[in-house]
Every structure is written in structure tokens, then in C-alpha cells.
Symmetry: C2
Subunit: 388 residues, 2 copies
């Protein structure tokens, strides 16, 4: 099957826009992106990722509410929730729906409104995606959970504070050229190493922000793709998996087993391997998470992620640029929108449309996206192939 | 594809059980129900409906949490939410997953924990599934919304207070024989007509209760079905649709357009019509909703639902028994569990296993389930065929 349209809002702080407005903005950009046009009446189903259901859990049946707002009230639409991987799971359900043969044209997307929550309420509902009984109620925030993983990784593999900060420096540098990014501002290594501490060893520059935003992609069967565009982006493979939510239940906290299992399934379905990937959008909710992703996705051996980074291979211009968009760290992380936001970036890149010349990865044909829920309780991986 | 296993808790008030315990109870009953046994390692994906994510929205990533609790942490599992139709949409996603060919053995289910919420909190989050902006914040509860629909239907078609109460009388009578029902107690017509008023014309006997509960079905490809049982129940057709959440946006409030669209799709996929249905489980969240369902599903003409009921056709022993389980009204309505709970009842009925002799519908071969989100913002319809 293929992606033939994509739209997303800028990620950031939009007090003047609610979930409906954010969704509509992404929807109409998606409509415009379909080269040969789309009659909205062709949309047969919609799968939308969202954790908070409209800011602090205030709306049920969010999916039909949003579809009704853009004039498609009768489309069967449903919200999927797996914390920060909600968007990835929406895409996964949409892909299955098209693969079933029962639906030809399907929307996958997500939306999140995080910036208008008070600090207390925001912390509360961000915390719910860990193991509530054993982590949140014991006082462990998400930064705290990833800090435990970072500390263990440092102990096992000798990762340094400086190397962690290089992830932030790279992704902020990438975001400068991305008009959709929340932080279009570079950060120096010195600055990134000395930010206010959040949970040792993670400081503020190691953490992705809270964000408002929405992202959508339009998926259709491979046979139909050319009716919409001469430049479809094919979904070559996909995988999803779960894991224990609580770190203490896992055998090893320097790898995300859910991500490894999802990646294996995606590579197998695509008939491709890590060496085939030209560019990747990975789930860098914290700097340590990007380094774990390199290893979970097979981009390098265990314990070698920092070297891959330091040698510049994952920077723009390197052999496998990672998070050219700026990543969650600098593009922003509106939870439910993140997974499909990654697909939007890849849609642009594989069609040569990452318009700012400094951002287009030249000659990219195969791309990967990696979306993680919580601290690895769930994960999805998709592999895409350019069709031009 | 086929259903080859089913399990559900009793629905009711279980202060001693949380969502994990409820889910596990349904899961182990499902395992036991698979005639030729199931190796749990064969389960490749899970789709779970839940509105409140564990009571007052306190848990994110509920699906992998529950799968981990029963020893299946790595199964890709995701929560789906469409208010009271969350379970129906979980079943719908599971059906698409199996139809895609990517998954052979899939769980669909749902769970809800409602009874331990205070009245205020419960009202709050039940209200979120209407249109929050235009209904809940204006003070309209769900009973209020269905009361508006009931009043309009009375005006249009001359429905009487007595006829509304006959729905409650029938479903309570049915529930007496159901060991899984919340209220195994008959109600007299006099009692049902004179309950304390909730929202005119709906009194307490017109309203389904709040409930704790979980329900699960195991779905596999038709080819595999006989490996698990000689009595599979085939999914012959399915449909899902949406609508505007707010009543004021709809052209007519005496019909649920989402249910009609879902039913049409299900009948078409099954190659069957309303006249083929031997038994149905319909979404009687309020008594008026069961009457609307008769018409939306094509069981009778518009305005004729009360006559169908009064003539006894939809009672146990009639030609098209509806809600032999007791329905949402008397079996109970743990939101996310309701849709798959209907499938559990039908699984038992079509296999001749509705064990209490007074409850088994003799000779039933084709059945239908109908699950509605909110006041009709979403709906799913499934048609099943017995395989023995």
C-alpha cells in the first residue's frame, strides 16, 4: 500500500487552537498535498492517535468529533491510545485496514493538545503512561524512568554526558531548517551540557518538550496510488510490539525489546535490513532514547551508538541521517501526533519535497520511522520506499 | 474469519477487582473455552476497548499493561476508544487485522471499571462522550440526551410510557437466567413505569447501570478455525460508521444514522438481510435505544418498533429474540466491555451453550450484535453464523 497525501501543523505552543482546529489544519494541508486531488467522499475509515483526548481527557469519541468537524461525520473513525506511540498504532491499524481489502482509502493521524495544561495536571497525565502502580505512584516521572535507563547504559557502555548532549546538538541543528519545528534554534554543546538538571543525568536539553500539534497521512492500496499521485510513498514493511510497562519487569533496560521486535517484523515484511535505510525518524523523547534506537533498529552494534553519532553518520550529510526534522527533541512531541508526524516528514523527504534546500536528504529512497510508547511499553516501526 | 473462544466476567459491582483482575478473569475463561486448546504464544495481536482507561483515566498504555499481566507482554496490543462502542471498534480492528492476512490469531476485547467512582466523577466522565462543548457543558447528561430522543419519538409515532417500560420488563426477565448478568431480577410493568424520574420520560428503570466487567473473544482466519474447535462462529459481516456527536447537528433524532450505515455495510458484506437474523444483542443503554435499534437494523418499519415488542416477537420464544442476555439494561454495561460481551453471548448461543435451559435460543444460526457510542456518534454492527 501507499501514502499519497500528508499534512501536519507546525508543532509548538498554540493557545488559540483547540484539537478541532489543529486537526482541521492538518487535514486541509493533507488534502492540498494530494497531487491529482482527492474527493473527500472517498475516505472510508479513519484511525487517530491521541493520549489525552483533547487536553486533560475532556472528550470522549474524539475521532468522530474531529471527522465531523471537517465535514466527514459518517466515516467510521476511532481513537487509538498507546501513550506516545498512539500515532504509530493509528498508522498500524490503518495499514491493516487497507491490507484487509475492505477499505481502499483510509486516514491515519493523530492530534494532541498539551500546552494549555497546568504543570501539575500535565505532569499527572504524562505520568500515567508508565506503570502507574509501580512507577508513577512511587514518584517516578518519565524523565526519571529514562534517567534510570541512561545511568545503566552509561555504566554498561561508558557513555558520557558529552555524548548524550551531542544528540540534542544534532537535532536542534536539524530543526533550524524545518518550518514545522517547535524549536528552530541551534544549541551549543556547552549549553546542552549545562542545562538545568531534570533527573540525573538528564537535563532540560535532554528532554523533548510538551507540544500542541496534529499530523495526518492518507493511505490507499498500491493499485490506486497512481490515481492520486505519480510520486506515492509505499509502505514496504511495518511492525508493532509490546513489553512490560514497568522497568523492573524487564530483563535489560539498555534495550527496548518492543522496538526490537517491531523492527524485526518491519524488516522481514519489507525484505530489507538496517543497511538499506537511507534516513530515519526515531523516537528521541530523551537524548538517551535516540541512542538506544540506533541499537534497537540495528543501525550499529550494542554499545556503539555514541560512536555512530560522534562520527557524524546520523547527522544531515552523513550516511544515515536520523531525525532530519529535528526529532521529538526539537521538532516537538505532541504525543498522539508524533508517529504520523514522522510519516509526514518521510513523505516529504522521499518525494524530494523537504523544501528548504538545506534539509532535503539527497537521493533517499528507503526510510524508517520508529515510535515508542512510554518507556518502551509499546513500539511501532515502519519502512517506506519512494515510488518515483 | 471465525471466533473460536470467548470469555467474560460477570458484569456488576466488584470493589475487590481492578482492571487487571477483571481482564485476567475473562482471559482465562476465554482460554478454557477453546475446545481443542490454545497455546497463548499463538496470539499475535490484541485490540482492547476501554473508555476510562482503568477508572477515571488513570492509566495510559492500558492494553500492553493488561497483556503483560496475563503473561503476554510482547503482543502488540492497543486500546481503542469510542465511548460505549469502544468494544465494538476493538472487534472491528481485530477483524480487519485478521482479514489483512498479516495476523492469524488475534484477541479482541474490552474492560471497564466504573463502580468505584464517586457519583460526581462518574457523571463527569460519562458525560464526555457527548459533544462536550454543546451538550455536557450545557448540562445535558446522557440520560438527558436520550430523553430528548425519546420525547421526539413519542411525538412522531405515539410511543407510550407503558411501551418504553416493556423493554425494561423484557430485558430484566431475560437476565434472570443469565449467570453473568448484573441484575438477575425481574421487574413488573407497574414497577418499571413508576421508578424515580431521571430525565423525563426516562426513569431509573429505563437506564442501564454502571458496571465493572471485561469480555474477550479470540478471532482467527477461517482456515485455522477447525484447529481450535469443531464449532466455530464465523464473522459473516461487519460494519462501522460515525455521526455528528451533537444531536442538534443531525437531521433526525429518531434514528441513528451511524447504526443504519453500519448495519447496511454488515448486511452487504454478509449477503444477508434483517429477515435472516435469528437473534440479536442490541445496545439498549436506555429503553428508547432498543426501540430505535429495531428500526435502524431493519427489524421493522419506522414507527413500528413498539408493536414488534408488544407482540412478543423480540422476547425469548419469539421469532427474533433481542437481548436474551438481559442487554445493557439488565446484564450490565461496562462501557469498553459491552461490545465484545455481546459477541460472547452470541458465541454461546450459536454453539448451543447458553447453558441454563431457559436461555438457549433453539436452532439459532444467524445472529447480530449492535454497539453504539454515546448517543450515536459511532456504531458497529456484526453478523455471525454458527458453524456446526
Amino acid at each position: 500500500m501507499a501514502i499519497v497525501g500528508a499534512g501536519q501543523t507546525a508543532f509548538g505552543d498554540f493557545p488559540e487552537k483547540g484539537v478541532k482546529e489543529l486537526f482541521a489544519e492538518a487535514y486541509f494541508e493533507m488534502l492540498k498535498s494530494v497531487d491529482k486531488g482527492l474527493d473527500p467522499a472517498m475516505i472510508e475509515a479513519a484511525y487517530l492517535g491521541c493520549l489525552s483526548a483533547g487536553g486533560g481527557f475532556q472528550l470522549g469519541q474524539l475521532a468522530p468529533l474531529l471527522l465531523g468537524y471537517v465535514g466527514l461525520p459518517h466515516v467510521p473513525a476511532v481513537r487509538l491510545e498507546n501513550a506516545c506511540a498512539s500515532g504509530g498504532f493509528a498508522l498500524y491499524a490503518a495499514v491493516c485496514a487497507v491490507a484487509s481489502g475492505h477499505f481502499k482509502v483510509v486516514l491515519a493521524g493523530g492530534v494532541e493538545k498539551m500546552r494549555d495544561l497546568s504543570g501539575q495536571k500535565g505532569r499527572y497525565w504524562l505520568g500515567v503512561s508508565g506503570d502507574t502502580e509501580y512507577e508513577r505512584l512511587a514518584g517516578c516521572t518519565f524523565a526519571g524512568i529514562y534517567a534510570l535507563m541512561a545511568n545503566r547504559y552509561m555504566f554498561e557502555y561508558g557513555l558520557t554526558r558529552r555524548q548524550l548532549s551531542l544528540v540534542a546538538v544534532k537535532n536542534h541543528r536539524h530543526a533550524v531548517a524545518n518550518p514545522k519545528a517547535q524549536f528552530r534554534r541551534a544549541v551549543t554543546l556547552e549549553e546542552a551540557m549545562e542545562g538545568p538538571m531534570v533527573a540525573h543525568p538528564l537535563n532540560i536539553w535532554d528532554c523533548s518538550p510538551t507540544s500542541d500539534g496534529a499530523a495526518l497521512v492518507l493511505i490507499c492500496s498500491a493499485e490506486l496510488a497512481r490515481e492520486f499521485t505519480d510520486r506515492p510513498v509505499y509502505v514496504a514493511g511495518f511492525g508493532a510490539a509490546g513489553d512490560y510497562l514497568a522497568l523492573h519487569d524487564r530483563a535489560d533496560i539498555t534495550k527496548l525489546r518492543a522496538a526490537r521486535k517491531a523492527a524485526r517484523a518491519a524488516y522481514e515484511r519489507a525484505g530489507l535490513g538496517p543497511g538499506d535505510i537511507d534516513l530515519a525518524e526515531v523516537h528521541d523523547c530523551f537524548t538517551i532514547a535516540e541512542l538506544l534506537a540506533y541499537e534497537d533498529l540495528g543501525f550499529c552494534e550494542e554499545g556503539k551508538a555514541a560512536r555512530l553519532l560522534e562520527e557524524g553518520h546520523t547527522s544531515f550529510g552523513g550516511r544515515l541521517p536520523v531525525n532530519v526534522s529535528g526529532g521529538l527533541k526539537a521538532k516537538g512531541h505532541p504525543l498522539g501526533a508524533t508517529g504520523c508526524g514522522q510519516a509526514c516528514e518521510i513523505f516529504a523527504q522521499l518525494r524530494g519535497q523537504a523544501v528548504e534546500p538545506s534539509r532535503q536528504v539527497p537521493g533517499a529512497e528507503i526510510a524508517l520511522s520508529h515510535n515508542v510508547g512510554g518507556s518502551g511499553g509499546t513500539a511501532t516501526v515502519f519502512i517506506y520506499r519512494g515510488g518515483s
